[in-house]
Every structure is written in C-alpha cells, then in structure tokens.
C-alpha cells in the first residue's frame, strides 16, 4: 500500500476508511473531516481513533467528572490539580507528593501476567512524568468467585505480574485490596496506584513550549505490541465471537523501566527538560498531541527516526503502538548533549525525533512526506462529549426493599462462634498474605507500615521523620445497593484507614470501575457515584487530585457491581508516632469508638452466611468520620493509643481477630449495654474504630472523646490466647489463625 500523505488525502476525498474498525462512530468520523476540512490520512485517523476512545477521552464520563473540579473543598495543599498526569499535593517541609490510581482491567483478563505488569509500569511512569521519584505502589484487585476455575486462571498470573514488575523496579508494595465476587467473573479489576515524592521546585508538567526545543523519545524501542490496545480493548465489551485479542496486550520489561526511572531522575536533577510526558495508552499519538496541545501548539516530528523493534511497522502502527517503557521529553537545544550523555550512562536509547515549531499544527513526516497535519488540541482535548441517558434502574427499589434485617440470625453462643469462624475464614475476610507476600514491601528502606495494616506508610525524610500514608477502599456490594452512599462509604473507609494509622488525610485519587455507559442503568450508577464522591470530598475537605475511569466492565449484558475505588493520601509529621493494628500488649484496654446500629445490608455476614445482597448499605455521617479521624490522629500523636483498627466489612469481630492475630495476643470482650452480641460483632455501621489503650492513658483518652462528643465504649481487654466474648463463646487464637490464614493458600497455591 502506498503512503497516505496529507496531499493524497486531499486529492482522494472519497477513499474508503476503516473508521468503524478503529472504534469510531459515524458522527465522530464526520467531525474529524470537518476539523481537517478534508478526509484524515491513515495516520491521522489512527491518532484520532485512539485519542477519542473512551479510555483516553472520557467522552461518556466527563460531564459527570467535572463536579470534581466544581465542588472543590478549601484545601491549601493542592499544587497541581486534575488534568495533568497526576495531581500534586503539598505535604510540608518543602516536599510535594503526587499519586494516582489507574485501571488495567481488560488487558489483565486477556493476558493476566502482562496485563497486570504493564498496569504497574504505566502508573509508575505517570508519577515519574510529574518530576517525582516513585516511592511506593498499591494494588486494589477484584476477582470472580474464589472457587471459580477462571479465578484460578487469572489470579496467580495477575499477582505474579504485579510482583514480577514491581519487585524488579524496587518499589515497595504497601497496600491495596483483594476482593472476590461473582460479578467480576469475566472481568477482574486490576487497579494500580503509585505515590511519588519531590521537592516543590521539581514539579514537571507535560507541555511543549519554546520553538526550536527538541522532542526526544527515550527508553525502549517501539514494537508492535499493544497496537490498538486503547481503543479496541478498553472501550469495548468482551465478545466471544471475535478473534482473540491477545496481541493487543502490551509486554513489559521492568528492567528497562528501572533504568528509565533512574535516568529520568538524573535528568530532572540537572534540570534538563522543559516538558515531559510518559508514553502509555495511545503511545506517541497521545504524547505528541498532549505535549503540543498543552504548549504553544506547533510541533514537527520525523516519525521515521523512531527506533523500532520491528522494522516492518507502518507509520500508523508506530503512532498507535503502546510499547512500554518509553518517555518523551522537550529539551532546549543547549541541553541536548548532556541529556544524551545521561541516557548513555544508563544504557537508555534516546533519539531526537522532532522539534517544537512556531506554528499551531502538529505535523508528522515519514521519510520527508507529510502524513499528519492536525491542530493538536482537537486530538488531545477536544474529543467528543456524550450526554449519555441515565435512569434509576427498574430493579433498584426491589433490591433496596430486600432488607438484610430479616435474615435469620444466630440463636446462641455456639452458633455465633461457628459464624465467626466461617466469616474470618471466608475468601474476602481471610488473610491476604499469600498474595501480598509475593510483593516486596521492604525495598528502599522507608516502609513504616504495609499490608495487612489499615494503611501503607512510608517515610519521606530521614532527618525529620516526615511520612505519607495511603489506603485504598471500595465496596461494590454497598455501591450496588446505593451508588451515592456506596461511593461515600468507599471514601469514608479509606479516610478512616489513613486516620487510624495516625496520618492526616489530605487528598484523594479514584479509580471508577463501571459497566457499559451505553446502558442507562450503569450510567445512573456512575452519575450517582460521582455525585456522592464529589459531595463527600467537599464535606471531608479532601479534593480529588485526579484518577481514572474504566467503563465497559461487563461480560455480555451483565455489568459488574459499580465499583468506585478511592485512594486517600495522608501525611504524618513523625512516623515514629504511627499506629499499627496489632494488639501487642497484655492488659491494655479495648475501646470501641462510634455508634453501632443494626446495619447488615451488603455486609460480609449477609454474604458469607446467607449469600444475600439487598437492603440499604450502612448510613454515612461524614461529620462523624471527620471527628473520629481527628480523635485517632490526636490520640496517636499524644501517645494515648498503641493500636487502632478501623471497622468496616466483617464488623468488629473481623477487626479484633486481625489485630489479635497480628499481635499474637488474645482479647476478652464484653457486649456493651444496649447492644446484642450479634449486632456488636457483625454490624458494619460506618464511622467506627477499635483502639488499644494503655491503662495509664484511659482517663485522658476518655476525657478527650467526651470533650469532643465522640461516643466510646470500653469493650474489653487484651489478654490470653483466645478471643472470648463473655457469656457467649471463646475461640483459641490457633483456631482463628487456621481459619483465617490458610484460605487463600488452599485455593490458589
């Protein structure tokens, strides 16, 4: 086939073009022709198709996402907001922290190892592109039923891929989640988060300004992997009738990425770049158009200078390739030699592929012939916007009316005991150490807390002991029952987890995993969840710094539960004041903070004991969450508590079991006045935590809670080698440990 140049396109307006196969709709194709005043060339069509895909353009979601920019709480910490590779917040002492969560769901279903591995690689490059040294990763994961054969196919590969890539990069994996639910059977969720740290003056932005500045592509050679990954994979539902899409998944090389990180950090240190962008989804199409669009507009690229792994690639394929471990930098001419020297030191290939120009067009040439001549903004930022129809699903009322309160409750102590063991040993409530022990949590030597703690925490300054904490949470069952409340519960839980570790929550990132936006039911869930999250962030004072939307998470007609995953970032002035979850000191007093109601809708108990999902999720009181957070942070700073664990899925007994097993100590519990044992143990009321208090601090702690109006109840003492609920039952730690620790290994080893 001859080269489809701009000139040729102008001369052949009626040539047939495969816009449909590239995932474009008819009106979108018409709009491209209108923007250009002619038909697009093959290369231009490739660029528009990937950049206007759901994954890159957020065309279905952006009308809802704009709330995150409108309902912004007053917060002095924000340095860079939504729209850049990742948001940046001030954490004090001149440090800035950037963090983000992204999805790599569809690739991980097709090719679990590589899909998950490149998900880690992509988010790490996003963080790096802001000028930050990546310091930790987290991985919120969701799989189908634990005992389903396909879960056995995807889980070991996904876990090995995350470990294989992240471990080789030298980034501690400090948190995340593992959730099983049949709704994720044909569509596991692989979200990946990363935290990076830098000094304020080192923040870098993705922009290409200054005519004459060079465009340098560096990192791995470009190959045929991941071509069309963005448009074909992320924006369509899986369908058994089409040929296998395996080649569309990218292949990762973590060694190359490690070199890219160190090389890039050295380049930053010498202040050699004017703008920088990582290459991820949509590859060079995205990097060149976004850099040019955010700068003065003009850029000229000689595409034939791009180093290739496969010399037979066409220009369209080079533009669309999602080969991993590549970055694109804008460098002033006088810095080019030094830039190249540093790349050479790290054995990283670097090539000047073009330069910033005076004009306003992105122009791409192939062996001297022009194949792209577009306004970059039209590619990168002016994609279509859809106002998708949405409506409350017809089944929502019936689902909410199916109250979990009517489910049969345990009749006596023996039955309670049996249900406790069943709960803590169920796949969702069991220990995840078989998975998390496949990740390096120690590398870099700054890890203060990691799984199974409530939040991961890393030190960022060795002199002052300044640190940051992060937790990620999401509960699809709650969100299915009520997406608005479910999104706020995810936010509240993540916020509570960070506060329980002793850190002050500052800001959030989110990964919004939903079904097809073409389904009005799903779109309603999305609209409700984003509204809930935006309202919640406004009330808690934690702005959304950025995030990711993953749609089309369904197999055939069945959508996943709406699954907004929220990552809260917190700061702690002195990591030596951190609060772990372990009950480690005999004789310390256990206090339950917050109010407990009969709330079982969407609960772990209703799932494990009755396989039930119905009713309303627990109520949210964000004012209470804020108060609880303040109490937990003050108590940690002033040395009033030695351990804290948030209460969420599984309720009090789950939290106490985890804390006892972690500390190797038992507990004697007394059901407080006004509660029955069942509600005490299994309710999932929000805004609660359990803390372990040295006896010498009891009075001071009680006074603080009383003065601030937080209800607390003394519920027991750390003691012995069993968990005893007075008058009901007792279970030896060894029996709890056997139930809790062995489940995942039994399923997947």
């Amino acid at each position: 086939m001859s080269l489809d140049t701009v000139e040729h396109a102008a001369e052949t307006p009626d040539a047939e073009q495969p816009w449909k196969d590239l995932g474009l709709k008819e009106d979108e194709y018409a709009r491209i022709r209108e923007i250009l005043g002619r038909r697009p060339t093959g290369a231009e069509l490739a660029m528009y198709s990937v950049m206007w895909s759901e994954h890159c353009s957020y065309k279905s979601s952006k009308v809802h996402l704009k709330q995150f920019g409108e309902k912004v709480p007053e917060n002095d910490a924000m340095l860079v907001g939504i729209g850049e590779n990742a948001g940046v917040v001030d954490v004090g002492q001149g440090y800035a922290v950037t963090f983000k969560v992204e999805s790599h769901n569809h690739p991980s279903y097709i090719e679990p190892y590589q899909g998950a591995a490149t998900g880690v690689g992509g988010i790490v490059r996003d963080i790096l592109a802001m000028g930050a040294r990546p310091i930790a990763v987290v991985d919120p994961l969701r799989f189908g039923a634990a005992d389903h054969p396909d879960t056995r196919r995807v889980l070991p590969g996904i876990v090995a891929g995350i470990g294989g890539y992240g471990n080789c990069l030298g980034l501690p994996n400090i948190g995340g989640e593992v959730v099983f639910d049949a709704c994720y059977q044909g569509n596991p969720l692989v979200n990946a988060g990363c935290i990076g740290v830098m000094k304020h003056e080192d923040i870098h932005l993705a922009q290409a300004s200054g005519p004459g500045n060079k465009v340098i592509l560096y990192g791995a050679r470009t190959g045929g992997d991941g071509i069309g990954g963005v448009s074909v994979l992320a924006s369509e539902t899986f369908d058994d009738t089409k040929p296998t899409k395996r080649p569309a998944v990218q292949v990762g090389d973590p060694f190359q990425e490690k070199l890219l990180i160190e090389c890039t950090l050295e380049i930053f240190k010498e202040k050699l770049v004017a703008g920088i962008q990582d290459l991820g989804g949509a590859g060079l199409s995205c990097a060149t158009s976004e850099l040019a669009s955010a700068g003065s507009g003009g850029m000229r690229v000689e595409l034939d200078t791009v180093p290739l792994r496969d010399s037979s690639l066409s220009p369209e394929e080079i533009l669309m390739s999602e080969s991993q471990e590549r970055m694109c930098a804008i460098v002033e001419p006088q810095h080019v030699d030094r830039f190249m020297e540093i790349c050479e030191k790290w054995d990283v290939i670097a090539t000047v592929i073009g330069e910033v120009t005076e004009g306003s067009q992105l122009e791409i040439f192939w062996h001297g012939e022009q194949i792209v001549d577009v306004p970059p903004r039209s590619v990168a930022h002016e994609g279509p916007t859809y106002h998708r129809p949405f409506a409350r699903p017809s089944w929502q009322d019936a689902l909410q009316a199916d109250d979990a309160g009517k489910l049969a409750r345990p009749g006596d102590g023996a039955e309670l005991r049996e249900q406790v063991l069943k709960l803590v040993g169920s796949p969702n409530q069991a220990s995840k150490s078989w998975i998390t022990d496949q990740y390096d949590r120690f590398v870099q030597g700054n890890t203060v807390l990691a799984m199974p703690e409530d939040a991961g925490m890393v030190r960022i300054d060795e002199e002052s002991n300044l640190g940051v904490a992060m937790a990620t949470d999401g509960n699809g069952r709650y969100a299915k029952l009520d997406p608005y409340t479910g999104a706020q519960l995810a936010l509240a839980e993540s916020y509570r987890n960070v506060a329980a570790s002793g850190a002050k929550p500052l800001a959030i990132s989110d990964c919004l995993n939903f079904g097809s936006p073409e389904d009005p039911d799903v779109m309603w869930q999305f609209a409700e969840a984003t509204r809930g999250l935006a309202d919640g962030c406004l009330e808690l004072g934690t702005p959304v710094t950025g995030g990711n939307v993953s749609l089309y998470n369904q197999t055939g007609e069945t959508a996943i539960h709406p699954t907004p995953v929220v990552a809260v970032l917190g700061v702690i002035d002195d990591v030596t004041r951190r609060t772990p979850v372990a009950f480690a000191e005999e004789g310390q007093l256990l206090y339950l903070l917050g109010d407990t109601h009969e709330e079982f809708g969407g609960s772990a108990w209703s799932e494990v004991i009755h396989q039930h999902l119905g009713g309303m999720p627990p109520k949210v009181d964000l004012g209470r969450e804020k108060l609880l957070g303040e109490i937990l942070i003050s108590a940690s700073r002033d040395g009033m508590i030695d351990a804290a664990h948030d209460l969420s899925d599984g309720g009090l007994i789950q939290a106490v079991t985890e804390s006892c097993l972690r500390g190797g100590k038992g507990a004697r519990l007394v059901v407080p006045d006004g509660l029955d044992a069942f509600t005490f143990l299994f309710s999932e009321s929000a805004g609660r935590a359990v803390v372990s208090i040295p006896r010498s601090e009891e009075l001071r702690f009680n006074d603080m809670c009383g003065a601030r109006g937080l209800p607390v109840a003394r519920i027991g003492v750390v003691d012995g080698e069993e968990i005893e609920v007075q008058g009901e039952f007792s279970i030896p730690l060894s029996e709890l440990s056997e139930a809790h620790e062995g489940t995942l290994e039994g399923l997947f080893a």
């Binding site: 470990g163 060694f255 490690k258 790290w346 120690f442 590398v443 030596t576």
Partner: protein, 226 residues
C-alpha cells in the same frame, strides 16, 4: 580513621541506597560505586546489594559478574578485601566463583517476602563478628531465586570447614539445601546470604528490628582495628 565501604550499583540494582544508608547508620563512610568503574575509589570493603541486575533475564547475577567493577572486586577479594553479597549480590558472588554453589528458583516457584529468622552459624567472619555463634536474628527475606544448591561434596566441605554462615531457623522458605541461608569463603572475608540485613537497621522501618546492623558494625570494627 573512618572505614570507607563501597556499594556497587549495577543496572537493575535496587537495594543500593538501602545498603549505603546501613553503612552510614553503622558509622562508616558510604561510597557509591558504578558498575563501569574499574577503580574502587580506595574503599576498604565492598557490598554487592540486592536487586535484579540486568533484569536477571539470563540467570541471576550471570551478566553482572562480567562487569568492569567486578574484575577489580574479584581480584581484591582474592587478596583479602572484605566483600558482602546480599541476595542478588550473593548470586553474583557464586557466578564469580568467589563462593561455591548456585541459587535456583524457589521450590514453590513464587517470589516470597517475609520476616525471616536466621541462626548465625559462624560468628568469626569479617561480617559476623558482632554476633555470637548460635544467635537467632530476624531480617527480611525477599527473592524468587533463593534456593541454595551445591553438590554433596561441596556441602560436606562447607559444613566441615564451618563455612555455613547462616541457616534458616523457623522455616526453610525456598527449599535451600541443608537450610543454608548464607556462606563464607575459607578466609572469612567474602560472605554471601539471601536475606537482607540492610533492611533491618532501624527501629520502626521494615520489620521494626535492628538485627541486621551487626553485619555493618562487625566490618567497621575489623577495618578500624586493622
């Protein structure tokens, strides 16, 4: 005098900064060494840190062993310079034939990261004199190719000469023969082990124990008293 201890960075080394920090905390002067250097910058001892040098794509440590810095390290180690190989560093030392045996893929085939209990078997090497023989310490372990192996004759020799420096003591995490976690050469200046003492030098960080600090204080005492 202050001891100068070098830490080598190969492409793909991950725990170099941690090892430099451990050297500093123990009281010596940390010196960063680059894989392309043949000059060791007058260091008194060298640490080969953990990681995945060259991605470990061929065989762990197989490429690094041929880097310019290793030519000098091998020569100096044979002349008595103390060398500690941690994890990937241990793998490099076996590839370089400074220590016998080899590391295979863990018997369960997974990467494993855990707080590992070790028994110090030889407290007379350059890197272990601050411990006592039989002492139990806890340091992080994290690797995928950690299963120590050697032929029976070599293993018998190591045992007979007291050259098994560390054994796994709570569980054997990877199927290493005779529970071997680390070994020394006959002279006691070259020590290699799979677990990571450099991750256990500060309270609160990592495992929250400082059981690994002894490696670094041992070598500093030896160098300063020399």
């Amino acid at each position: 005098m202050t001891a100068r201890i070098g830490v080598v960075t190969f492409p793909g080394t991950l725990d170099d900064r941690d090892s430099l920090r451990a050297v500093r905390i123990a009281g010596a002067e940390p010196v960063s060494l680059w894989h392309r250097d043949t000059d060791l910058h007058q260091v008194d001892a060298v640490v080969l840190a953990g990681g995945f040098s060259y991605g470990d794509y061929l065989r762990a440590g197989a490429i690094s062993r041929f880097s310019p810095v290793m030519e000098t390290v091998i020569e100096q180690a044979k002349a008595g310079m103390p060398v500690l190989g941690i994890c990937n560093g241990f793998q490099i030392l076996t590839e370089a034939h400074l220590l016998p045996g080899a590391m295979l893929r863990n018997n369960h085939l997974h990467f494993i990261c855990r707080d590992q209990k070790l028994r110090v078997e030889n407290a007379e090497t350059a890197w272990t004199s601050d411990y006592t023989a039989g002492q139990e310490i806890s340091v992080p372990l994290k690797n995928v190719d950690g299963r120590y192996t050697a032929d029976e004759r070599t293993l018998d020799e190591l045992e007979a000469e007291g050259r098994v420096a560390f054994r796994y003591s709570d569980v054997n995490p990877n199927g290493s023969l005779r529970d071997i976690a680390g070994i020394t050469n006959a002279a006691g200046n070259v020590v290699g082990l799979m677990p990571h003492p450099e991750h256990a030098v500060e309270p609160l960080i990592g495992t929250g124990r400082t059981d690994g600090l002894g490696f670094f204080t041992s070598i500093i005492k030896k160098l300063v008293n020399a």
